[in-house]
């Protein structure tokens, strides 16, 4: 055993190296600290190596949850397509509100409210100008709505007291409107108290593709969210697509030099902002996806709740690259993952 202070300080540096990830460990000081800690207390060195996080092997039971973030990532719901008499495309979806207990961290259950039993709800995807019809059944014990972001008449806005209004348990309604404007949007329940109805899981991405389309890419949807498991109006859990550290355990595999497009939506409750930072790379950012011209070339983007944007990037080198919220607290409470770039 080393003297009292030595390992503690060494381990502290190691922890910082852990937080910063692989790039942090490249300095001589951090590397040495790693080594020292490993000699003194293997467990602490392990914590540094593993970027902290849940104990080894602790995983959420995705099967019991009924959804797996690894699959949600590239799962776009195109709905059922038919043609109206006019020849215009009619796209239809069915969404059902369901109360479900979800394992939001290994061993931690959360009484969630969901669309179609998953958080986030299905990523609804359509094309600009189509007619959209969303049949909504409330199978929950609580009243709910679906409030879409987009341009539509007041009665289709999914807020209490206007148009279709609040949908009571057991009832169902159909929302119908045109797909406009193109871009990345979202939908969520708008029943009060809003904090409960949003943060318990009733939200999802709503994507309207532009008429002329976007360049071919490996596309993925990331909904940044969190959970307040102890009802103190602050989050114990942060994630993209619900499960903390999910993409640390199962890195997102992408091809080298291939265009990657991330549809990023922030639905985090309680905290004012959220962010995404990609390691060792830069991306073009299209706020709300409503323009095909990027407005920024950066490696970190910030969003408040309801804000969203499209990211486009290519990874020129093979290897593992972290991505995480650039609020260290969020990152260490689960909002952290890896891209694995392969040839």
């Amino acid at each position: 055993m080393l003297a009292a202070l030595g390992p503690a300080v060494g381990a502290g540096v190691a922890a910082r190296a852990g937080l910063l990830g692989s790039d942090g460990a490249s300095t001589a000081l951090a590397g040495e600290a790693h080594h020292e800690t490993a000699a003194a207390v293997p467990a602490a060195a392990h914590a540094g190596e593993g970027h902290l996080g849940f104990p080894d092997g602790a995983r959420v039971d995705h099967r019991a949850n009924g959804f797996d973030p690894a699959e949600l990532l590239r799962d776009f719901d195109h709905g059922k397509v038919t043609r109206l008499a006019s020849g215009r495309v009619l796209r239809e979806w069915e969404l059902v509100a369901q109360d479900r207990e979800i394992e939001v961290a290994p061993g931690v259950k959360f009484a969630a409210w969901t669309y179609n039993g998953r958080i986030p709800g299905p990523a609804l995807r359509c094309n600009e100008g189509e007619r959209l019809r969303i049949r909504f059944g409330n199978g929950s014990e609580h009243p709910h709505t679906i409030h879409f972001h987009g341009i539509h008449p007041a009665e289709m806005d999914g807020v209490p007291g206007i148009g279709l209004g609040t949908i009571q348990p057991g009832k169902s309604v159909t929302y119908e409107f045109d797909a406009e404007p193109f871009g990345l949007h979202l939908y969520h329940c708008h029943v009060t108290p809003l904090i409960d109805h949003i943060h318990k899981g009733m939200y999802g991405a709503f994507l309207i593709d532009p008429r002329k389309g976007r360049p071919e890419a490996d596309e993925m949807v990331m909904v940044m969210n969190g959970f307040d498991t102890n009802f103190d109006r602050s989050n114990e859990i942060y994630a993209v697509n619900t499960v903390p550290f999910a993409y640390m355990n199962d890195p997102i595999v992408v091809k080298r030099n291939e265009l990657v497009r991330i549809y990023l939506v922030n639905l985090l409750e309680f905290d004012l902002v959220n962010s995404l930072h990609v390691h060792a790379n830069f991306f073009h950012y299209f706020p709300t996806g409503t323009s095909l011209e990027p407005v920024e070339y950066t490696d970190t983007v910030m969003q408040c709740q309801g804000q969203r944007g499209v990211l486009e990037l290519r990874f020129p080198y093979e290897g593992r690259y972290m991505f995480h919220a650039h609020q260290s607290e969020f990152a260490q409470l689960g909002w952290m993952g890896f891209f694995e770039v392969k040839d």
């Binding site: 207390v41 467990a43 392990h46 080894d56 290994p106 061993g107 931690v108």
Partner: protein, 403 residues
């Protein structure tokens, strides 16, 4: 006899049964009745409503380089499962003896964590229902390892704050032998004041300590329970020894020795509590061991030596007995420091502090007659002044040793 005769016709059989059987039958019926209710799960009451109640308290925090270890006890009615651990807003690796902690059970949660000396840490145990048990480590300091040098250090500490000052205080014996009966009464009243202050102080200390840890074993109730038990036990001992020496010529001499012994025991129990406080504060790094602390305790505790010798002023005991009295009063500080540093448990500490309080109360009761002027009341201006002086001395010297 008439009443007996009147019930005889109705209760003839019962009357003939042996008394032990009459005592035993209701007991068996009670046991059987409770067993039936338990077996049926309290018929008619149904399941309890609402989610499980999750109450965990952290009894002990041990810090080793690169590791935080929490001993957690389940205070609540339901088992609690610790699913994840958060330290300073970060999920951390951990291992627990048992992740599911049963009612009143305890478990050790080991967290590999690169803590830094002098910084503070907020740990949260996230349970299976998503609840959090928060525990703050105000200042991270390595917990001393329990080797022989550690016990040696604690013994030295106990010696400094216990035996040495008490023994020094007893050096007032020649002085108290020379003063007039009236001034001796004043000194005895002063002793009562000192002791009363200690009792009040220890009561609040005990309540504080009890509030910090697990409430499963009674919390602050333990202080009063400890006080009642020690008061009653010492009262019984005092009554028994008084009866034993009744009528003996040695009466007055024995009486003085007895009271001095009781005072020494009471102060010893008090110093046990004081040692506990010092030892546990040292173990969590909340106490700087320095000359100031030792000097403070020396001044504070020399008054305890005076309290021991005042009752034996008229007929001083042998030197051996004086040494024995000093040891009884002072040595428990060493034991207390050991326990406090090595195995501090707030429930045990509260109980021990309470035991000290009860002992002091008993001693005050024993001392009270001695400050009475032959026929007068106990509280006269001189004795009241003595008691108040005792308070004042203790109050002022206690300011030196606030830990």
């Amino acid at each position: 006899m008439e009443a007996r005769g009147a019930v005889e016709p109705a209760g003839g059989t019962l009357e003939r049964a042996p008394a032990w059987l009459l005592g035993l039958v209701p007991l068996l019926l009670i046991v059987a009745g409770i067993a039936v209710i338990a077996a049926l799960g309290g018929p008619g009451l149904g399941e309890r409503k609402g989610p499980p109640v999750e109450e965990l308290s952290v009894e002990r925090t041990v810090l080793h380089p690169g590791e935080i270890e929490l001993t957690v006890r389940n205070d609540g009615p339901d088992p609690v499962t610790i699913s994840q651990v958060i330290v300073n807003d970060s999920y951390v690796d951990f291992s627990a003896d048992e992740q599911k902690v049963g009612r009143l059970d305890a478990t050790k949660v080991k967290i590999p964590y690169p803590w830094i000396e002098g910084e503070s840490y907020e740990t949260q145990l996230l349970t299976s229902t998503g609840g959090t048990i928060d525990h703050e480590i105000p200042v991270a300091v390595e917990t001393p390892s329990k080797d022989s040098s550690f016990y040696g250090l604690m013994a030295l500490l106990g010696l400094y704050v216990g035996i040495v000052p008490v023994t020094l205080g007893m050096l007032w014996l020649p002085f108290v032998r020379r003063i007039s009966a009236q001034w001796l009464r004043f000194l005895l009243a002063l002793t009562i004041g000192l002791l009363a202050f200690l009792a009040i102080d220890a009561t609040f200390e005990g309540i504080d300590v009890a509030g910090e840890g697990s409430q499963a074993f009674g919390g602050a109730t333990l202080v009063f329970l400890g006080a009642a038990v020690s008061y009653l036990v010492l009262a019984a001992i005092a009554g028994w020894s008084a009866a034993a020496v009744e009528g003996s010529r040695e009466r007055s001499r024995t009486r003085g020795w007895e009271i001095a012994l009781l005072v020494a025991i009471a102060i010893g129990l008090h110093n046990l509590g004081e040692g506990l406080a010092i030892g546990s504060a040292y173990a969590v790094g909340a106490l700087a061991l320095g000359a100031f602390l030792v000097i403070g305790f020396a001044i504070h505790n020399t008054t305890e030596g005076l309290a021991i010798v005042a009752p034996v002023a008229s007929r001083p005991p042998t030197l051996m007995r004086l040494v024995l009295l000093g040891a009884i009063a002072g040595a428990p500080a060493i034991v207390g420091a050991w326990i406090g540093a090595a195995a501090f448990n707030s429930s045990v500490a509260a109980l021990l502090l309470g035991v000290g309080v009860g002992a002091i109360a008993q001693v005050i009761q024993q001392l009270a007659p001695a400050i009475r002027d032959r026929s007068g009341p106990i509280l006269r201006p001189l004795t009241v002044a003595g008691i108040l002086a005792g308070f004042a001395i203790m109050y002022v010297t206690s300011l030196l040793v606030n830990i």
